[in-house]
């Protein structure tokens, strides 16, 4: 079985580039997400991104706040009870980021279309309203005609829309646990990660836990992302922080508010990045930065029992280090 473990730095350096179509996956909007992957993209100065996401989460909020997003297709860009995403909203209202709105359902259907390699997906939602008529790509035309073109049902003649299918160049998908080959189990809602993993040209997993493949053999029905479509696996505990990861940690409420507040201005964003993005170089420093007390606090989650069936297969940090070294060597 191929060992695909690579470092976060290597993963971002290898699988992301300026101008790319980047997709990230999660149990949105304030649940699990590959937030730490997005932070590494900020560290490495990736820019001019075309982002595809179901919901924005703190990741898109940060990437937009630093000016890294040229265009974003999204179903929901806010942070729910935490409020509007200040960084993204600043980028959108200033015209820096072009936003193309769809519904959450539509984003999943379009990824499904990409996974099937269909040219388009019939649209029965998002049509006959501004989701169809307003296009960030056609700002001078209202109603827009190219975003969700009108088509006829060939059987009944009824009017429908056509969603373009989504084929992201790379998807960075957060999973609760993965083995070194890229088989993964997600706890909590999958949102669109299943179809996303089949739609993207390349898939990088970012896992809170690395488990032995025996875990996958015990629960093969739960392995919805498969090694066969995965290029690389990154081990990054508390990857979704300050958001939650079902079974492992709750959201860091104080930090989500604090971070979103900072995203309001370019100056505060820069300050935030100095303190919380550029200030760590590896996993240990990342965890030190969050702090032991905070880690203990957010780890005391009501969902912890969901991990019970899997604990016997979880690799320790030392074991993962050895596996990483073995792959490199």
């Amino acid at each position: 079985m191929q060992n695909k473990l690579i470092s976060m730095q290597e993963a971002v350096a290898t699988y992301t580039w300026d101008g790319m179509t980047y997709c990230h996956g999660a149990a949105f909007p304030v649940g699990s997400d590959s937030v730490a992957f997005g932070k590494e993209m900020v560290k490495q100065g990736k820019k001019d991104l075309n982002v595809i996401c179901h919901c924005g989460s703190s990741q898109v909020n940060l990437l937009a706040a630093v000016g890294a997003i040229r265009r974003c297709e999204v179903g929901f860009s806010g942070l729910e009870v935490y409020g509007f995403a200040n960084g993204l909203n600043r980028a959108v209202t200033s015209g820096q980021t072009v936003i193309e709105d769809y519904s959450n359902g539509a984003m999943a259907f379009r990824l499904f279309g990409g996974a099937m390699n269909w040219p388009f997906v019939p649209a029965t939602v998002n049509i006959n309203n501004d989701q169809q008529w307003c296009s960030g790509d056609e700002p001078d035309t209202y109603p827009a005609s190219n975003k969700i073109p009108v088509i006829a049902d060939p059987f009944t003649g009824k009017t429908l829309g056509a969603f373009s299918s989504l084929r992201p160049e790379v998807a960075a998908i957060h999973v609760t646990m993965a083995d070194v080959a890229g088989n993964a189990i997600m706890l909590g809602s999958e949102w669109s990660r299943f179809e996303m993993s089949r739609a993207a040209d390349k898939v990088v997993l970012v896992a809170d836990k690395i488990v032995d493949t025996a875990c996958m053999r015990q629960y093969p029905n739960l392995v919805r992302i498969i090694a066969e479509v995965v290029e690389a696996v990154v081990y990054w505990p508390y990857c979704s922080w300050p958001q939650a990861s079902c079974g492992l940690y709750d959201s860091d409420e104080e930090h989500v508010f604090y971070m979103n507040q900072a995203m309001k201005t370019a100056e505060d964003t820069e300050d935030y990045c100095q303190k919380w993005v550029h200030s760590y170089q590896n996993r240990d420093e990342y965890l030190d930065l969050i702090g032991a007390d905070k880690l203990a606090q957010i780890s005391a989650t009501e969902t912890a029992f969901l991990m019970d069936p899997y604990r016997q297969w979880i690799k320790t940090d030392a074991e993962v280090r050895e596996l990483e070294a073995r792959r490199k060597g």
Binding site: A27, F28, P29, V30, G31, H54, C55, G75, F76, S77, G78, E80, V81, Y82, F84, A85, L88, V92, T93, S94, G95, I99, D101, Y102, S103, N104, G105, A106, A108, T124, V125, N126, N128, N129, D130, Q131, W133, C134, S135, E138, D140, T141, Y142, A144, K158, L160, L187, G188, S189, E190, W191, S192, R193, E195, A244, S251, E253, E302, T303, L306
Partner: protein
């Protein structure tokens, strides 16, 4: 009896939810209204969220999001958006839903996307908004697909507008048979539950009129807080105050008192 406007609105919304319904709930007031209804009078309510979280009862207070651990701690199934928003909602299977609105117009069209100096439909262009909101999320899928749904909104004239800046989630579009012509599988909004009263659509014109108002307001006040010439039902009534039992059941769901902080 003491209660906040937000609590009243959640209870009134809950009263529009019937036992046995298959219902999709969004975060915030929507979820509180739904779980209040289940606790109060609809024990067999089949509630789920957009990401496919089934069979849950929130723990530890209002969930921060629809997939928050507070609603994932006792689920019977986790699926995904294609299942929840596609198979159960866009398909037309879902009985009821509750969505929020930053702006709502007289035909029940909802805007949660943005506010413009001059709205795109007037301008004939689509420039960046003056204020970016959140986008539709799953509400567009719900508005198109659910058999019926409820809209919750704070009753202010800037929010209750003649025509919304942007239709994120379609109600009855231009009224009359416009929605029917659009071919949507679902029936459209059954009511707008506001902080001042209950508005319902006229069966023919589909224009929302005042059906009942809360005991602490007046017809005049509701009209003044509405950005269109609000019609009033000849049988307009006063919405019954929350009972002690209703309030107790709501507060048992809203354990952190998120609805008691605002008035």
């Amino acid at each position: 009896m003491e209660y906040t406007k937000q609590e009243f609105m959640a209870i009134v919304t809950g009263r529009e939810i019937s036992d046995g319904e298959l219902i999709i709930l969004g975060v915030g007031l929507s979820m509180l209204a739904g779980y209040f209804a289940r606790r109060n009078h609809a024990p067999n309510l089949r509630a789920f969220t957009e990401g496919g979280v089934y069979g849950s009862t929130p723990v530890g207070g209002l969930p921060w999001g629809i997939e928050c651990n507070r609603i994932s701690a006792n689920a019977t199934s986790f699926t995904n958006a294609i299942d929840a928003l596609g198979f159960l909602v866009a398909s037309g299977r879902c009985d009821n839903a509750v969505i929020g609105a930053a702006q709502v117009d007289k035909y029940g069209n909802v805007n949660t996307t943005g506010i413009w100096e001059e709205p795109p439909w007037k301008l004939g262009k689509y420039p960046p908004p003056k204020v970016r909101l959140n986008g539709s999320g799953g509400a567009n899928d719900i508005a198109v697909g659910a058999k019926k749904y409820l809209i919750m909104a704070s009753h202010e004239s800037r929010r209750f507008t003649q025509k919304v800046d942007y239709i994120s989630s379609p109600g009855y579009l231009d009224g009359g048979d416009a929605r029917q012509k659009a071919g949507f599988v679902g029936g459209g909004p059954a009511a707008i539950i506001s902080t001042l009263g209950i508005l319902r659509p006229d069966p023919e014109s589909k224009e929302f009129y005042l059906d009942a108002y809360y005991p602490f307001t007046t017809v005049q006040e509701v009209k003044e807080a509405t950005g269109w010439e609000l019609k009033v039902s000849p049988e307009v009534g006063v919405v019954p105050e929350p009972s002690e039992e209703e309030l107790a059941n709501l507060r048992a769901v809203d354990t952190t008192g998120s609805l008691r902080k605002k008035n």
